[in-house]
């Protein structure tokens, strides 16, 4: 299951980030690291990007990226 599969209101725990290079580091720097709980808050009116709550702040990212972040049900 990936972050993109979660519906607004659902939570997940990050297990793996399937990207590499600068993008991966950026995600990690912003708190997207394994073991962290994320909650999907909203999906933008046009369907993309989405807003998630992580480490007590709101982060927005596209489905394309969210799809590469594996989560397990919390």
């Amino acid at each position: 299951m990936t972050l993109a599969d979660l519906k607004p209101g659902q939570c997940g725990i990050i297990t793996k980030i399937n990207v590499s290079g600068a993008l991966k580091r950026r995600l990690m720097d912003m708190g997207v690291v394994s073991g962290t709980t994320v909650r999907v808050e909203k999906v933008a009116p046009l369907g993309d990007p989405m807003e998630v709550h992580i480490k007590s702040y709101q982060l927005s990212l596209r489905r394309g990226e969210a799809d590469k972040i594996d989560v397990e049900a919390a």
């Binding site: 600068a22 993008l23 991966k24 580091r25 950026r26 995600l27 990690m28 720097d29 912003m30 708190g31 690291v33 394994s34 962290t36 808050e41 909203k42 999906v43 933008a44 009116p45 046009l46 369907g47 993309d48 990007p49 807003e51 480490k55 007590s56 702040y57 709101q58 982060l59 927005s60 990212l61 596209r62 394309g64 990226e65």
Partner: protein
């Protein structure tokens, strides 16, 4: 973390009152610029979205006999930079070695901010933490044990509220004390665990050449992470045998991705520290931001809210500013001109100087200055968008649309700023991570109709489209946006092929801006327009005046130097419906700044034979009274516009005699169709040269400025051609 080497401490104590450099670093939107403004009385740009500060800025002040310089750095999430402005922050910290760092931490977001603090500590520079946004933390019911953070990290932690100046005195005291007397402050040691520390020690032992660098620990850690830029700068290869040796055990125990290991380790420490020091309330309240977003970012309401917000900004800008523009216009063209020429005649100034001042300077600069009201109004609303936190939401809502034309949601912010002025907008592209996005966004910015183009529209719509001026004005803004979409799509398919990069952005909470701050930052944005009027536009106005009056004593303006030069290029514009030398002269001089189109018109379109003003000249007293009365009237009209109209109010609809001069001449020189083609041309033709210089500055070469000049000239000509010829075919002109 090792103790500070004491040599530097000793030498500092020798000359007691040394000047100090304090770097202010932290995550984006943590309040760094606000804090500096509050301490140093500066007016650095502040806004409630991540990425406001894109350049290193500093503010100096006197403190207890010392000169202190606070360096405002762009916000950054880590010392492994991702965006260009983050590179600036890191390079400064690593190479410039400030005396002390003030780490501004957003107290409502402790863990992610502490992750960055961990990295700052690696630099081995004295550090004081400002636990900012403390008011918001309290409001959320967060209780933070500053002693614990302090004890674990070995730095003083001072709770602050930068917006209210709370805690700043103590913060400054502590920072100065840390900088001048580091020995009295034991640095904490944050251990990254046995495995990593061992690897670091091995690397350090192999790095004798670098042992003079103050932050060898940082260097060792970056080598371990294989940071590309550090590797390049230090000339050490990723395959250096000693690195392989140092990390062998780490790789075996923790896997190949050491960068991920480091991030995990730092976050684990930050999380641990947060758990220790932070007490959250039992029950989480539903916060204001969530409630607002439930509407503003709602599936169905999000887009309508966005469109209404944009529409309101334009409506209010013109509704409120319109009457004041009329008022200023009346004052400048009437009493001011009359008084000046009377005064100059009194002191027996030669006729030509009177003409230079009244026609050249007042006519030229004045024509531009009357547009201060809408320009400041526009700047005010942009500041409001920035300060409230809606800016980032707009980027969120619009990302999908932007993505379709090869852009990025964040591109939306520079583009929106472009409606105020294109120049800061070009600099704002710095927050985009990737050079491709940056370039594409910068190329499209000139299509956003900036404040300087407004004077041209207002004059023409006033003359030709008075009855539906608002709609016509709107259509020009929309034309620019529509063309940006088309051009963006075209560029995406040609010059900028390839994947557009990720969109990862923090959404800040909504914040209530204070009136004082709104005023300061509106002024900071708008003052450039005033400065421009006093410098470039003044110079060009004088230049145009001489161009129109030379060779000396020329009979008709058409035979002047400027007239002759303009006549040679005028045929180029003939197919567009405005092939006159007057229009050509205006467009030619307008390359410097688009307001100049109007200011030049103010000079070229003055009727050749001075119409004698035979009517009784009003007395100075009467005129002053009239100015006052009409100013008060303008308030009434502004209020009436805001509340009574649904559409955008017309500006300068009423025909007052004072300004009839330029307008009546224009009415004869253009048809409505050619006027519209002319406005479209002014909207699109090459951006003012300050924008071109900004592009050169931002991209380090003239390449993109060149592309802009080429495509915009072609676009402007084509669009004006289609409008004019198309209009004639369907019988409009």
């Amino acid at each position: 973390m090792e103790m500070k080497s004491n040599t530097s401490g000793k030498s500092r104590q020798d000359h007691e009152k040394k000047d100090l450099i304090i770097a202010v670093a932290g995550n984006p939107n943590a309040g760094k610029s606000t804090l500096i403004n509050a301490i140093a009385g500066s007016r650095l740009h502040v806004g409630n979205w991540p990425g406001v500060t894109v350049e290193k800025r500093s503010a100096s002040f006197e403190f207890k006999g010392r000169q202190i310089t606070l360096v405002d750095l762009p916000g950054t999430y880590s010392l492994s930079p991702y965006t260009q402005e983050e590179v600036i922050a890191r390079d400064y910290l690593v190479t410039q070695k400030p005396d002390v760092i003030i780490n501004v931490v957003d107290a409502t977001n402790l863990e992610r901010n502490l992750y960055f603090t961990m990295q700052l500590l690696e630099l081995n520079i004295p550090l004081v933490m400002a636990l900012n946004m403390h008011d918001e933390a309290l409001q959320k019911g967060l209780i933070i044990d500053t002693e614990k953070i302090s004890a674990m990290l070995g730095c003083t932690v001072v709770p602050t509220v930068a917006t209210r100046r709370d805690g700043l005195d103590r913060l400054l005291e502590q920072a100065v004390s840390f900088a001048t007397d580091p020995e009295n402050h034991t640095a904490g040691h944050v251990s990254y665990g046995e495995d990593i520390e061992k690897a670091v020690a091995t690397i350090l032992s192999e790095l004798p050449a670098y042992s003079s660098v103050p932050h060898t620990r940082w260097l060792a850690l970056k080598l371990l992470e294989a940071d590309v830029q550090v590797m390049q700068a230090s000339g050490i290869s990723v395959n250096a045998p000693f690195l392989g040796k140092a990390t062998r055990h780490l790789r075996a125990a923790h896997g190949e991705d050491l960068e991920a290991l480091m991030a995990d380790t730092r976050y684990a420490l930050a999380a641990g520290l947060t758990r220790e020091a932070l007490q959250k309330p039992q029950k989480r309240k539903r916060e204001l931001t969530e409630r607002i977003d439930a509407v503003v970012l709602n599936r169905y309401l999000g887009i309508p809210v966005f469109l209404v917000a944009m529409w309101l900004i334009f409506k209010l800008t013109f509704d409120i500013a319109g009457p004041f523009t009329d008022w200023l216009d009346g004052v400048v063209a009437g009493p001011l001109t009359r008084w000046t020429s009377t005064l100059m005649a009194l002191v027996a100034a030669p006729d030509w100087t009177i003409s230079l001042v009244t026609e050249g300077i007042i006519g030229g600069v004045g024509a531009v200055l009357v547009f201060l009201p809408p320009i400041f109004a526009m700047m005010f609303f942009i500041t409001l968008l920035e300060a409230s936190g809606y800016m980032a939401r707009a980027a969120f809502v619009m990302d999908r649309v932007m993505h379709a034309i090869g852009l990025h949601g964040k591109s939306f912010i520079p583009l929106l700023l472009g409606f105020g002025c294109n120049v800061p907008a070009v600099y704002a592209t710095r927050t985009l991570e990737n050079p491709r996005d940056k370039a594409l966004t910068a190329l499209l910015i000139p299509l956003m109709s900036c404040g300087a183009r407004l004077p041209v529209y207002v004059v023409f719509t006033g003359v030709f489209f008075a009855a539906y001026a608002g709609t016509v004005l709107w259509s020009l803004y929309i034309l620019g946006i529509a063309l940006a979409v088309a051009v963006g799509w075209l560029f995406k398919k040609t010059l900028f092929r390839g994947e557009s990069p990720a969109f990862i952005m923090e959404l800040p909470p909504y914040r209530m801006p204070t009136m004082k701050n709104l005023m300061i930052h509106t002024w900071e944005k708008g003052k450039h327009y005033l400065i421009k009027a006093g410098t470039w536009i003044l110079a060009i106005s004088v230049f145009v005046w001489f161009g129109l009056n030379m060779p000396w004593g020329v009979e008709s303006k058409k035979d002047s130097y400027l007239g002759i030069a303009s006549q040679t290029i005028a045929p180029v514009f003939a197919p567009l419906g405005f092939g006159t030398w007057e229009a050509a002269a205006s467009l030619l001089t307008g390359i410097v700044a688009k307001e100049i189109v109007v200011s030049t018109m103010g000079q070229v379109y003055i009727p050749e034979t001075e119409e004698e003003e035979n009517q009784e000249a009003p007395t100075v007293g009467e005129e002053i009274k009239e100015i006052g009365v009409s100013f008060i009237g303008a308030f009434g009209n502004a209020a009436k516009n805001v509340f009574s109209t649904v559409g955008v109010a017309t500006m300068s609809a009423e025909e007052d005699e004072e300004t009839a001069g330029l307008r009546s001449v224009i009415a004869k020189a253009f048809t409505p169709l050619s006027a519209y083609a002319f406005m479209a041309f002014v909207l699109l033709y090459l951006p003012c040269f300050i924008v071109l210089v900004a592009m050169r500055h931002e991209f380090g070469s003239w390449k993109w400025a060149g592309v802009t000049i080429a495509y915009q000239t072609a676009l402007a000509w084509t669009v004006a051609f289609v409008i004019y010829q198309g209009g004639r075919i369907i019988g409009l002109g």
